[in-house]
Amino acid sequence: MIFFDRVSKVYPDSSVALEDVSFTIEPNEFISIVGPSGAGKTTLLKLFLAEDKPSSGSIFYQDNNVQNFDKKEINDFRRKIGMIFQDFRLLPNKTVYENIAFTMEAAGRTDEDIESDVPHVLELVDLVNKAWNFPKELSGGEQQRVAIARALVNEPDVIIADEPTGNLDPINTYDVVQILKKINDMGTTVILTTHNKGIIDSLNRRVVVLENGRIVRDDKTGKYFA
């Protein structure tokens, strides 16, 4: 489904973020990418989302080279990917409902679809009663659940969760991980980056370890070795 083919990224100041990285992600997989800060996790995701271009190598999504997408294809492609960030990145001037509806509007969905689907995902993340609150009125855990609902609502093929629990306490971390597992069980591919040892150990799914821009380990049912 997703294939990184000998991808390297060297920044203009000649710092090497990724070096000759190759791996494949199968449909419906739950893959964790771990590694210390500066290992290249964020660069890897940026390249995949076509926010940046690799210095060499290619990234394929369903046999299409991501770098060859034009602007419209990039938009269509990003609508098939749900993004969850460490800092939530909700739209501050929109309510919870509108934040989720925006993603559907951007994808050109009808008002009827929006009215039926948004309450549904809000239920999934247990935030029905906060639909008309603004993000600043929510706790960190609630904000992250809104972000998850937003990522889910267009029924994406892949969910990318970039350090989704980095700003959360253990209880909220647990909730978020449970929701991600549920999403994966429903058939969506999940790519998770994290430093949280507890999460990796409890998930017992595939782990790819990055260090200094290289893959140093790729275990089918990995544990986190610091």
Binding site: E51, K72, N75, R89, A106, G108
Partner: protein, 312 residues
């Protein structure tokens, strides 16, 4: 994209624009105020130009030269000079004041001064010559008119000069200076108009740029959920247009009391030009300029400012 979808998108963009304007209350208020200052400057420039034009025209019309003829000059000769003056392209109008009219005017002017009137009576005859009052099309042309009068044409047929004096030569310095002031005031006004228009546009542009800078993270999030360029830009352009419209509305309204207050002052100072009645008379045109500038500045500033954040 189907027509129905286009309509839905347009509706969403406008609705989002209104929500963003309303929810970003403080930022919107600040932007509207800055925009209002810019539009006020533009409106003032427009009205100021009208004030200047009218007062310069008034000033120009007050400049004239008087040719006083000798008392012995015959009416026939004077009318001939008048006729040849009127044929000059520089001359707009020649007004003939007969000796009797000159005397009547003189008496009226000195009606309170008994000694002068007595002296006149004692003199027995009219000591004043007839006068030709000449207005040129442009103040700078008086020199050539005066030159013409100096030449042979001013002489009567018998070869004896009939021109007593031409007051241009007495007033030359004043006329020259006035001409210079009028032409440099015109140039200065043009430069100032250009300068203030550019400065106010830049200030408005910069303010809108700042509001978009505040929203840059939001824009990148919109990009990452796959929103198209026009769908992201749309609401910002709508907000920019709302800034322009609200600012224009306030500007147009506050011009009413301001011009009313200035009205009587300008009327005495600028020779009958009342800015308040000018504003009311040209309300539609001025309102159109202010609203138009507001909308155009708002929309274009938003479009230009957001481009930078859409590159992701």
């Amino acid at each position: 994209m189907t027509k129905a979808m286009l309509w839905i998108k347009l509706k969403r963009v406008i609705r989002t624009g209104f929500f963003n304007f309303w929810r970003n209350g403080t930022v919107s208020l600040a932007s509207v105020l800055v925009m209002m200052v810019a539009l006020t400057v533009m409106g003032s420039i427009f009205i100021g130009k009208a004030v200047l034009d009218t007062s310069l025209a008034e000033l120009s019309s007050r400049i004239d030269i008087n040719v006083t003829f000798t008392t012995s000059a015959s009416e026939e000769d004077i009318l001939e000079v008048k006729h040849s003056l009127e044929s000059l392209p520089e001359v707009l109008l020649v007004n003939y004041v007969t000796r009797q009219e000159a005397l009547d005017a003189f008496k009226e002017r000195h009606a309170g001064d008994q000694s002068i009137l007595t002296a006149l009576d004692e003199l027995g005859e009219n000591p004043l010559g007839a006068v030709l009052n000449i207005k040129a099309r442009d103040p700078s042309q008086y020199a050539s008119v005066a030159e013409f009068l100096e030449s042979d044409n001013a002489l009567s047929s018998s070869g004896i000069t009939i021109v007593d004096r031409v007051n241009y030569f007495q007033n030359k310095v004043a006329i020259d200076r006035l001409t210079q002031i009028i032409s440099s005031a015109d140039k200065l006004a043009f430069a100032a108009t250009l300068f203030f228009a550019i400065v106010s546009i830049l200030i408005a542009f910069n303010t809108i740029r700042l509001t978009i800078y505040i929203a840059r993270d939001e824009i990148s999030v919109m990009r990452l959920v796959g929103a198209s360029t026009t769908y992201i830009q749309g609401p910002f352009v709508v907000v920019g247009i709302i800034y322009g419209l609200v600012a224009a509305l306030i500007t147009v309204i506050i011009f009413l009391p301001i011009t009313y207050w200035l009205g009587s002052t300008t009327e005495t100072f600028f020779g009958g030009f009342n800015v308040f009645s000018y504003y009311l008379r040209n309300f539609l045109e001025i309102a159109f300029i202010i609203f138009g500038s507001g909308v155009v500045i708002g929309a274009i500033s938003s479009l230009l400012a957001i481009r930078k954040y859409l590159k992701i």
